[in-house]
Amino acid sequence: MVLRDLTRVRLTNLDKILYPAAGITKADVLTYYVRAAPRLLPFLHNRPLTMHRFPDGAGGPGFFEKDAPAGTPDWVETFTRRAETAGRDVRYVLCNNLDTLIWLGNLASLEIHTALAAAPAYETPDLLLFDIDPEPPLTFDDVVSVAHIVHGQLENRGLRPYVKTSGKKGVHIVVPLVPGLSFSRVRDFAHGIGKAIARDTPQVVSEFPHSREPGTIFIDYLQNSHGKTMVAPWSLRATPLATVSVPVRWDELKKGVCPEVFNIKTVLSRHEDPWSDIFHDRQKIT
């Protein structure tokens, strides 16, 4: 048995170092994604992707790629839609099988970002996203307390939100939606939650112009827009330690948790995936 009997992807440069600080090679990255595939693929199904490629590794310059690149194999599924931001048709990659995931890894797409809507109903989001990031000197601990406030607000409205680390300094809170609402409707809802929290919580800001002020946490509702993306759960990040954006239970999200402990070497040993049934728990916002 050889590699090419197991995948249609012609793998290249397997011993290239993609995370220099941690000495992680492309073979390691591919091994990670292959092992994460049973948890990652159900989430990625039919969700237009944005690749964040790092041909020179995590330390080098990366670039975002929405369009299926030249040489995309014909077994990679794609979805073409006009992107208003680009003013033209974009042929998005859909990662609907293991080989496509391996192919993405082989392109050094260390990070996999997805739209908040799935094809073909690409104009109606099926995820509501709160992207919560701290501005220094605030830290992950502060993010944790704000995340729980958002959790409380959503529960008060009868919703069951899910949370994951962003793989960097923040967290992503999502509510899986019954599709049908417009992006602007979902965005207004998220903005309303942010405004309500900002009224009572000093360091929280709900408006974009204040989002970079030191010592604040912005509850970013603007990601709930056509063409915007979220890094996928179980995606690697291009950080020195090869951190992972990992789904966590709400009771795991405590002060003192260091998001760097969730990385390429550790997360696969987590036996549960709090997000595994996320698309069987679609909810309605009012």
């Binding site: 590699l3 197991l6 249609r8 397997l14 073979a27 091994t31 595939a37 049973p38 040489g71 293991l98």
Partner: protein, 302 residues
């Protein structure tokens, strides 16, 4: 799958005489061919990314532009393989004294002044004399395009307006009406080039030029200035032949026959012969293979 004898077959490779087949061959029926162009038929050129942006500068006037590749090298590349196991060869920098591989960090540049004698240059010393790239195509003057000698033409690039459609269009129209090209300089990466900006098929094109000392003048050959003067009758006949064979030039009359022949050979080989494949090192791929086997099994259960 054994080599069929046909007039097109290459001479039998040495591996055949070892009495064993290369471990990395694969029946052609399993070979994927979608990345290969069909014999001769190929897609049109796609515009690539801009690799330089700056301005055409004429005195105080700037026309912001982006530079795109215009010329592609389509020559056919083979890789050199180890005949015994079909693995691609790689190149190493080897010290000529002890034959040992030298890492990049231990290298330095030398300029050979006499055979075996070098002046050593540290990176900083060479960096200091690099021309500054100021992102400008500096135009000194305008010249009749047809007065330029193509032997100096080096490489051509398409100039695309960078939110400067009006100024770009104006320059294009002026050059076109006057039959002129703009002459000046551009710094690309680490080298300054003489260059012209000229009109080509509705676009401005930048063509870098070779420096004067890069082109050998024909009068270096002493036989040329001493050619005999042709006789009138012979000249008249020669001119008649030339006139009779005159026509319009089309580059499409001259396909790349070698490339077509190699591609045809590739397709022929794919249809009937073993193809040598690159195989990752076993150690490198071991964990990945195990992960693949386990994941494929897990996904199959779902």
């Amino acid at each position: 799958m054994t080599g069929r004898k046909s007039p097109e077959s290459p001479p039998p490779a040495k591996q055949a005489s070892h009495g064993k087949r290369s471990p990395v061959t694969k029946p052609a029926s399993m070979v994927k061919t979608e990345h290969l162009p069909a014999g001769g038929e190929e897609h049109g050129a796609q515009p690539g990314r801009a690799f330089w942006s700056g301005s055409i500068t004429i005195g105080l006037v700037n026309v912001p532009v982006r530079l795109h590749t215009m010329v592609r090298d389509r020559s056919f590349a083979f890789r050199l393989l180890h005949r015994d196991d079909g693995q691609p060869l790689k190149y190493d920098r080897v010290c000529s004294r002890d034959g040992k591989v030298v890492p990049w960090s231990e290298t330095v540049k030398g300029y050979e002044i006499r055979k075996g004698e070098f002046l050593v240059f540290e990176p900083d010393e060479l960096k200091a004399i690099l021309p500054e790239s100021d992102r400008k195509i500096r135009i000194d003057k305008f010249v009749y395009y047809l007065s330029l000698d193509p032997v100096y033409f080096d490489s051509s690039f398409i100039l695309v307006p960078d939110r400067s459609e009006e100024a770009y269009g104006l320059l294009l129209a002026a050059l076109q009406d006057l039959g002129r090209a703009a002459a000046g300089t551009i710094t690309l990466r680490t080298k300054e080039y003489p260059a012209i900006v000229h009109v080509y098929d509705g676009a401005l094109v930048l063509t870098t030029l070779r420096h004067a000392d890069e082109v050998i003048p024909p009068h270096a050959f002493s036989i040329l200035p001493e050619l005999p003067v042709p006789k009138a009758a012979e000249l008249a006949l020669a001119k008649k032949i030339v006139t009779d064979l005159s026509g319009d030039f089309s580059i499409n009359d001259y396909p790349d026959r070698y490339r077509e022949a190699v591609l045809a050979l590739v397709h022929k080989k794919l249809a009937g012969e073993n193809i040598v494949y690159e195989e990752p090192h076993p150690g490198q791929a071991k964990e990945l293979m195990q992960a693949l086997q386990e994941t494929i099994a897990t996904l199959a259960k779902k």
